[in-house]
Symmetry: C2
Subunit: 224 residues, 2 copies
């Protein structure tokens, strides 16, 4: 592994990114395919070893850039994976982060020095991943639930606006509950969390839906 680089020292610290997006109402996570042993050819979450001269979050951003080309992203700390034997070589802690991106705006590199593919996977359909990444991803999805309860997440998930049916679906999916669509709409509107943009969006057929945007002047509120 990368232990020879003098920037790494003995007890190891890794960073692991779980980058989510919404693609046609589905929540997806970004995976890369490894080009190195161990787990060569396996899908994995983008991440790697922390350098000793960088903050943990900086490290996560650097790794994300190196493996996927994503930059300018806000990362949120999820937690530490600290099982003693998660790595066979030495004690290795993993710091897990969540990032949210607009799938339209990112340009994911399919190949890098260390990867041979990169793609978005529906969180309901995740392949077997390298290391303990399936487990890590589950933790991150739990955290995503917590986050989505906060109204400000709308801004990050949909920087360009959204329709209410769209986000309604997302909230139901990630929270795992049914939400009355009429009441859901009312909550967002009466609490001034979203603003009508007077535009509409057409999907395939059906009545066009109004486009809304997040109200920047509204303080962060807990939605559920």
């Amino acid at each position: 592994m990368e232990i020879k680089n003098p920037l790494y020292k003995n007890i190891g610290a890794h960073v692991i990114n779980t980058v989510f997006t919404i693609d046609k109402g589905e929540i997806k996570v970004l995976l890369i395919k490894r080009n190195n042993e161990p787990f060569k050819g396996k899908w994995a979450l983008p991440g790697g070893a922390m350098y000793n001269n960088e903050l943990i979050e900086e490290s996560a951003k650097r790794e994300l850039k190196e493996k996927t080309n994503i930059t300018d992203i806000d990362l949120l700390f999820v937690g530490v994976e600290d099982k003693v034997d998660r790595s066979p070589l030495l004690r290795m802690l993993a710091f897990i982060y969540i990032g949210l991106v607009d799938i339209e705006k990112v340009n994911i590199l399919k190949e890098t020095n260390k990867t041979i593919d990169a793609d978005w996977f529906s969180i309901n359909n995740i392949p077997e991943l390298a290391y303990d990444h399936n487990n890590v991803l589950l933790k991150a999805i739990e955290k995503l639930k917590d986050m989505i309860i906060s109204s400000n997440i709308l801004k990050k998930l949909y920087p360009n606006g959204f329709t209410i049916p769209e986000i309604h679906k997302v909230y139901e999916e990630i929270l795992g509950i049914e939400i009355d669509r009429r009441n859901f709409r009312k909550k967002l509107l009466t609490q001034n969390i979203i603003i009508d943009t007077n535009e509409t969006i057409n999907f395939e057929g059906k009545k066009p839906a109004k486009k809304y945007k997040f109200n920047e002047e509204q303080k962060d509120k807990r939605l559920f």
Copy 2:
């Protein structure tokens, strides 16, 4: 420092405990006085270096026991302190934990191998601490705010029951807001978060207050 012990390896991981209690309506934190360089004679939060063969939380518990004699405590992870130069010798991460104890039930050791004193300090009156512990403590107090919003914390803060005026004061103090005592009482009662025990408690003078206990059958609720 303790680097010679073969259980520690190169990039360091420390654990730091912020143990809180309620003493006569005041929130206090447990500090120990150091008996070793650096910062010999200074007050500090109880903690120390993590061994490579233990989980982070286990390590925090071990350190807490060694330095204060507290055992059987639930610790809650607050976050990581990761400034690159927080320790001059080598890269040192600090994992911060919160514990809550009943001041009546703990038996704090005043002296150990590494400490020459231990005491409870009101969180409004903290001395200058060793390392970056003042900063760490501030972070932990912020987290305590988040925690106290959740109804389940009552169980841990007051395993033996409490009076409403008591916890009212605690909530006001830690959240830093005024709460109408009548509405506060009503909230806890109508939402079945607390149960009347039909006992009363006398303070010095004044009308005795009813003793309540946390309702174990109630799911965790967000109070504010």
